[in-house]
Symmetry: C2
Subunit: 551 residues, 2 copies
């Protein structure tokens, strides 16, 4: 949702400045390839051993194996393999070509070390972090994830129409979570005004992890606002296909096994169709952005297709700028610097920090009151909260919104265990076995999950205090994805690390009154994160963009 | 030849840190557009006035007018126009879109402020400096420049075959210029060995300026080695076409008036054809590069087309690496890390600093002795020196190499006045009127020309000392190109400056024994440089990539 998480890992990475004579030095191969650290000292047999992985509960590690025959890794070999023995020159070559390809094809982000990289395009650019090769993924699970995307799209639309359900389900949360409370206020106001959204546009992303023990594809969350990386994820897919085309013979891989990624074009198509429904040829698409957005190129890819393929103009504004420049006409028309806004596409506004003052909330309200198509509307936004995710997982709730029993079954299959903290039995279980649970705050933005001993202490405190603060959280079954050795490339440096992956399936939904104009799955995002033994959660370490190789 | 010159100009640019309350502050428009300095204070009527341009001899300034109706500049208005009055928002929008386009489409270079940007691709990238809009250029002169390209290609090939001519013409230079001397030594050794280059490949660029007073397109130099920017120049052409497509209605411009630029594809085609002539499907193209090349993406565009369109692999090596890894087999085959080299393409080796030790010279010799196709061979390299340019400009010399009188005439039309320093009359004239001459050192690399009072003093000293050092230089007629107001974009900042432009026409020539396989003009490079009154020469200030708009 935000930019790629960039928490440095310390597990296996030996920074160059700490290298002593007993450590191999970073080397610059003669070919002019960039330096990468030699990991032979720190990527040892013991570190790879199953079960030795810190406090992790990783039963049969490496079962979801990374597609990297260049590393000659097989399941049974992984535990005893010293990666330094493999064809290092080939990895260097692939990495060099990958970095060049990224630079020439706009697979870039703003460098966090460059002061102006979030403010001005074209300066302080660095390649987006990526996995060198795609990760293996079972075709059946991939198909299932694609199949449920339109069902989730439809589900969210129906949930969004049930204002009472949203208000009721979130009523306890409202008391303790100021952010959700403000969203509910706007939502309540729209209900009072009996405001209807005739044209409804959703650009979603449903995130999953493949649970190693159950072999189930379990949903982590469903994003209805600001689903990021439609632009860059397509580029990583193209990058991996390119690398496999060039090095296919060496790797024994087939580029066709990487599914096509249509996220950019499909999202642009959906925005263009919504713009068309609004039916004002002079109107623009308003992109709500965060100030200093280093992930701007991901967004620009989308707007670039929007303009070049659909001849629709997009304007980028922060909430603060919208507050200053936005104007609502009596008929509901939203003007921004004199231009009529047909569609509002949020790439900001999903986290409390996006609203530092009342101005930003006023801007949000202004937009919600307008006749512009909102992506998302306040109802869509609320329908994507974790609390609603947990409510929908309760027995018989899905059936309220979906008639088709098969659809219900397919959706339910993706649900991990989700519980309210009002459920005393589950809280008791989580206190006894914290390793099997994760405590998730209601608000978005990532990185705030509570694990292990921290979670146990939090639960004990909440129980003791009988605080209503418990409504700010949900409990979720801890998912244990496979941990696989991976080459992660960041800042031009290759890290050999153990990593876990999370699959996001994009979905687009557009409806005009009774007509569903678009309801499709739209490409995917694979994110792979370093899993460090120093951290409790799967979000530890830094993350890279990835794609999948169907197995 | 090297990277873009990046000498900061101080003429009209007020650095942000020097802005006081009496100066407008840099502004960040609400639209999220990047900051650019407000120049209203320093881009005044008086600064634009014809004749007030420092010590410049600029007769009717602005006659070659920049295509920028956005600035509403016309010849007669230029002197009295305050650019701050024009549509600033539109310029901001165009600039923002241009920066985004550059970032997404690989119009990038390594940032000189980033330590690793020359060593590792994908890090420390910044957009290449560019002019916001193309510069107006007369179609007749454009056609002439294109027409003579194949004639120059043929001329260089013929000159290269006349070893005695090269040695004789450069014999005095040899005594005083150590660099040319080393090149001549290698050349002499090849003559002794009676080494023939059956397959000859030239990737040239002929650089011109349009002289304001005479309206003649005069040749500045002819580059036979390391002609840079075939990759990025094509991108700037595409950028300008894109901007005019988007903003054409506002600007009243037609994208079709910008000639297509085929430099990348044509150069790649020539390299691929030379590779094919060598006739070893397993062989590679060796690119000789400078260590720490920040202009690497320009090169990578070329290799990328070479690989993707022609399935030819390129390897990048520095001279030092070639010395370490190169191996010459008894039959003349050059091996680099075990791979047979079919073609050697020099993007280094043209300047003395590329040869810091004997190793680099040995590498150059090794390559010259090999059977690989050299681009350029030592003969081609020498044929492109300024001394040879000056020799060819002497009466009756062209006729030694070209039979067709019309060809001779067309070529000669491009020659500026060129003289040896042995010509006492000319030296006398240059001492008396230094403003009409420029003193050019024999060696390549740019930035070493001597102008004005410095030149006068140098000439007086050389004459007094009767030193043979004079052979290290030639005298050239000073060309006075038009000076036009321009928006130059560098580091995400827009500078409104007076600038001059230099047109380079790329040419490719490939011959196998008696068969001319390719002899074509191959796209173009327009470079536009800030002309500052603080500096003597047209190379003062920084330069940007540009393209042309035919008028």
């Amino acid at each position: 949702m935000g930019p790629i998480q960039a928490i440095p890992t310390t597990a296996f990475y030996v920074p160059a400045r700490n290298l002593t004579d007993s450590h191999p030095k970073p080397h610059l191969p003669n070919s002019g390839f960039p330096s990468r650290l030699d990991f032979s000292c720190c990527w040892s047999r013991s570190a790879c051993k199953v079960g030795s992985f810190g406090s992790w509960v990783v039963a049969p590690a490496f079962n979801l194996r990374r597609v990297a025959r260049v590393m000659e890794i097989k399941n049974e070999e992984a535990a005893s393999l010293n990666l330094h023995d493999t064809n290092e020159d080939l990895v260097d070559k692939i990495m060099y070509d990958a970095l060049v390809w990224s630079s020439l094809h706009g697979l870039v982000v703003g460098d966090r070390n460059h002061q102006r990289s979030g403010a001005v395009p074209g300066v302080g650019m660095v390649h987006a972090p990526f996995a060198l090769l795609p990760v293996s993924f079972p075709e059946s699970q991939w198909k299932h994830a694609c199949e449920v995307a339109p069902i989730f799209n439809e589900l969210i639309d129906r949930v969004s129409l049930d204002g009472k359900f949203l208000q009721d389900a979130l009523s306890r949360t409202k008391k303790v979570d100021a952010f959700t409370s403000r969203l509910l206020d706007i939502h309540g106001k729209m209900m009072e005004l009996n405001k209807k959204e005739d044209i409804r546009l959703g650009l979603h992303r449903s995130d999953y992890m493949l649970d190693e023990q159950t072999k189930l594809l379990l949903q982590i969350e469903f994003n209805t606002i600001s689903s990021s990386f439609p632009g860059l994820s397509c580029l990583v897919t193209r990058l991996h296909r390119y690398l496999i085309q060039v090095y296919g013979d060496n790797l024994g891989l087939d580029a066709q096994r990487i599914p096509e990624n249509s996220a950019t074009t499909k999202f642009a198509e959906a925005l263009a169709k919504a713009w068309k429904e609004y039916n004002n040829p002079k109107a623009v698409v308003l992109i709500v952005v965060q100030p200093g957005e280093r992930n701007m190129y991901d967004q620009h890819w989308l707007f670039s297709v929007l303009r070049e393929r659909h001849n629709v103009t997009a304007i980028r504004k922060t909430l603060s700028e919208i507050h200053a420049d936005g104007q609502l006409l009596p008929d509901g028309t939203l003007l921004i610097q004199g231009a009529v806004v047909a569609v509002i596409y949020f790439r900001a506004g999903y986290t409390p920090t996006d609203y530092p003052s009342e101005s930003e909330w006023q801007a949000r309200s202004l937009m919600e009151e307008s006749s512009a198509v909102k992506c998302p509307s306040i109802s869509y936004h609320l329908a994507g909260t974790k609390k609603i995710q947990q409510e929908l997982a309760k027995p018989h709730v899905l059936e309220r919104f979906l008639e088709d029993k098969e659809d219900v079954e397919k959706i339910r299959k993706c649900f991990a265990g989700l519980w309210s903290l009002e459920d005393a039995d589950i809280v008791e279980k989580a206190i006894k076995n914290p390793e099997f649970f994760v405590m998730k705050p209601q608000r978005e933005g990532g990185g705030n999950n509570i694990y292990g001993e921290d979670m146990r202490e939090s639960l004990l405190r909440l129980r003791k205090e009988k605080s209503e603060e418990d409504a700010a959280y949900i409990l979720m079954q801890r998912i244990f994805p496979s941990v696989v050795p991976t080459f992660l490339i960041r800042d031009g440096i290759c890290y050999k690390e153990h990593a876990v992956s999370e699959l996001g399936i994009y979905g687009a939904y557009l409806r005009s009154k009774e007509t569903v104009i678009m309801n499709e799955k739209c490409g995917y995002l694979m994110r792979t994160k370093v899993s460090s033994s120093n951290e409790g959660g799967v979000a530890a370490g830094f993350a890279v963009l990835d794609s999948i190789y169907l197995s």
